[in-house]
């Protein structure tokens, strides 16, 4: 159950704490950082964050349960978020969802039979002009067709098979396009460290 952040990430936390006048303000970014390493917000993560920021675990749990992007249960290496809100729904979002349910063999909230994908629905992801769309891990896939979606799933599936299945979602990230951005983001937010 015990969770420890990697030495490299601990340095990021030290830097994060300089950004705010209170320690507690680092709660959201720190939870993100831990989730990147652990794959979800485990009880061990909650205990670690509480100790690191001097907060009661109940308050950290209060934060975790408020926000949808913190996984309160373990998830598959790839998390597929289907946008279900109106602009996407007007352009076939529901069909995308049904197709994924069939293809992955699980319902929304479930995990595919091969354990590689978790399927979830998302509320508006600010891509209404490129509907229908899904977010998979860090990447937006927009203007989707069913064939295109199949290709994306095939590719990710192949990549996931090649990696060790238990290595968490960071191992399967597509390479971000922008190297400079990656360096900065990696230093401070722990994202994009593919």
């Amino acid at each position: 159950m015990t969770f420890t952040l990697s030495v490299e990430s601990e340095k990021i936390v030290d830097e994060l704490l300089t950004r705010y006048p209170t320690q507690r303000a680092a709660c959201l970014p720190l939870l993100h950082l831990c989730q990147r390493q652990e794959g979800w917000v485990s009880p061990g993560v909650v205990a670690y964050v509480a100790k690191r920021l001097g907060m009661p675990t109940s308050e950290v749990t209060g934060v975790v349960t408020f926000y949808t992007m913190y996984h309160q249960q373990p998830v598959a290496p790839n998390v597929v978020w289907v946008c279900r809100t109106l602009s996407c729904d007007l352009r076939g979002g529901r069909e995308i969802q049904k197709h994924l349910e069939k293809r992955l063999g699980c319902g929304v909230g479930g995990t595919s039979k091969d354990g590689k994908f978790s399927l979830k629905t998302a509320e508006c992801l600010a891509a209404c002009g490129q509907a229908p769309m899904v977010q998979i891990n860090d990447d937006f896939h927009e203007n989707l067709t069913l064939d295109g979606l199949d290709r994306i799933i095939d590719e990710l599936s192949a990549k996931t098979a090649a990696a060790a299945p238990a290595s968490g979602d960071a191992a399967q990230k597509a390479e971000p396009a922008d190297a400079a951005a990656r360096v900065r983001a990696k230093t401070l937010m722990g994202i994009g460290n593919s």
């Binding site: 303000a25 408020f66 926000y67 992007m69 729904d89 508006c124 860090d138 990447d139 069913l146």
Partner: protein, 456 residues
């Protein structure tokens, strides 16, 4: 298509537009340099006031006036907080600025910090927008290396720091006091007001919270002068050009820059390329994000009184009224974020309402009972109606629930749910009656992926 001047989007479309090199070759930071080296902070504020810029986040409050609410005698430096928690259904404009021209936002932050006396700025971005976060972080890094962000921007003793703060998935964090709680590491629940953020905001200090597009407009306001920038608009007291979004059943959905005062007809048929299917006419349009009540093209402005703010458009279709904060309020809806959701005649309005009320019931923070219960009830009743398990009395029940939510909560979320719900009920009551008897047929939302085929 109309050829509008490109001001805030002047660098869109340039290769590598998000890098300092390209942005600076095309004018970035010249306004900040001017603001820091040749203008007094008060002069910057005057230009922004003269620009008549109405907040671009949805509420439409004059940005210059908002800055003026900061206490003059405060011993604590104010914070500047940028609301980049773009999440209002139908809205996808701020993301384009952060991805394609992050330096415009960074430059705007610098000028705004100079104007209000802030030294620290937090840009609160929803965590789903990974590319936006990466590009902003990189832009801040580049601007820091150049010294624009740091101890002495442009050689002037006014230290600046800009930090990106990631949200964690909660629409309510777009409400400014919920955003501040979230920034402070708490649950994103809105605060009771007063005190307003201008007096007691982030970390107990005076705080200005502005939308991404509002602040990204500031460099152009300084460069052109407030009045010249304001005059780009077609309307009085609502200045400039702005980003319009259009999604749903149009041929070319997307984000477009145009003068304030564009009509929905222009947005849909010119910028949006017209209706997606030639044989499927426009049935309804949600003008500026899902919280703004729906409009019908067949409704005509009824304003025979010359004193009425809409008299100039008396007898014209609602979609021919210029889109402005004041004009759309007079029309009984709101301008909101200026991002329209377009629906053709294949859409069942009860189904559309169900979709949106699912959103609100999922996103209510749960703090106030009328909102927590009301949003859930609205969705449950609509679910019953759509599934053919409803009854006629459900229609009045929806009205009753919505009326009990309005004005009874800490923040505007409940009103932003009740108003569009009542809008659907007022304008499409006949459709609710039919659905109450027989439910909605399948495929009641128009275009399918297959029908759209080949778009990728």
């Amino acid at each position: 298509m109309a050829d509008f001047p490109k001001i805030i989007t002047s660098r869109y479309g340039l290769p590598q537009s998000h890098t300092l090199k390209v942005a600076e070759q095309h004018g970035a930071y010249s306004a900040a340099r001017m603001a820091f080296t040749t203008m007094k902070p008060e002069q910057i504020a005057v230009e922004v006031k003269d620009a008549n810029i109405r907040g671009r986040g949805g509420a439409g409050f004059p940005a210059g006036v908002k800055w003026g609410f900061l206490p003059k005698d405060s011993k604590v430096a104010p914070y500047l907080v940028i609301n980049a928690d773009e999440g209002e259904p139908g809205t996808f404009k701020d993301r384009t600025l952060m991805e394609l021209d992050p330096h415009r936002l960074v430059e705007g932050c610098l000028i705004a910090m100079r104007a209000v006396g802030a030294h620290v700025c937090y840009i609160y971005v929803r965590c789903e927008l990974v590319t936006s976060i990466q590009r902003l972080e990189a832009a801040i890094e580049e601007a820091s290396e150049r010294g624009y962000v740091g101890k002495q921007p442009f050689g002037v003793d006014h230290a600046t720091q800009i930090y990106v703060h990631m949200g964690a998935g909660a629409y309510i964090c777009g409400e400014e006091t919920a955003l501040l709680n979230s920034l402070e590491g708490m649950r994103g629940e809105p605060r009771l007001k007063p005190p307003f953020p201008a007096v007691k905001g982030a970390f107990g200090a005076p705080t200005v919270v502005n939308n991404v597009e509002t602040i990204a407009s500031v460099p152009d306001i300084i460069r052109m002068g407030g009045k010249a920038w304001s005059d780009q608009s077609r309307l009085p007291r609502d200045g400039g050009t702005r980003l319009y979004g259009v999604s749903g059943h149009v041929k070319t959905p997307g984000v477009y820059e145009a003068p304030v005062g564009l009509t929905l007809r222009e947005l849909i048929y010119d910028l949006g390329g017209g209706m997606l299917h030639a044989d499927r006419p426009l049935k309804a349009v949600i003008p500026g994000g899902s919280s703004t009540p729906v409009l019908r093209p067949g409704d005509l402005v009824n304003a025979p009184d010359p004193a009425h703010p809409l008299h100039a458009w008396h007898g014209k279709s609602h979609i021919d009224v210029p889109m402005g904060v004041d004009t759309f309020r007079a029309l009984g809806t709101m301008l909101g974020t200026c991002c329209a959701i377009v629906m053709d005649d294949s859409v069942n309005m009860v189904e559309a309402a169900r979709n949106l009320m699912h959103f609100y019931s999922h996103e209510s923070c749960g703090q106030c009972t009328p909102c927590r219960e009301g949003t859930g009830w609205l969705h449950d009743v609509l679910e019953n109606l759509c599934e053919g398990k409803g009854k006629l009395q459900d229609i009045d029940l929806l009205v009753d629930i919505a009326n009990n939510m309005m004005g009874n909560t800490i923040c505007a979320f409940a009103d932003g749910t009740a108003m569009p719900m009542l809008g659907f009920l007022q304008k499409f009551r006949d459709e609710f009656v039919v659905v109450a008897k027989s439910g909605v047929p399948p495929h009641s939302l128009g275009a399918t992926v297959r029908a759209l085929g080949g778009v990728s």
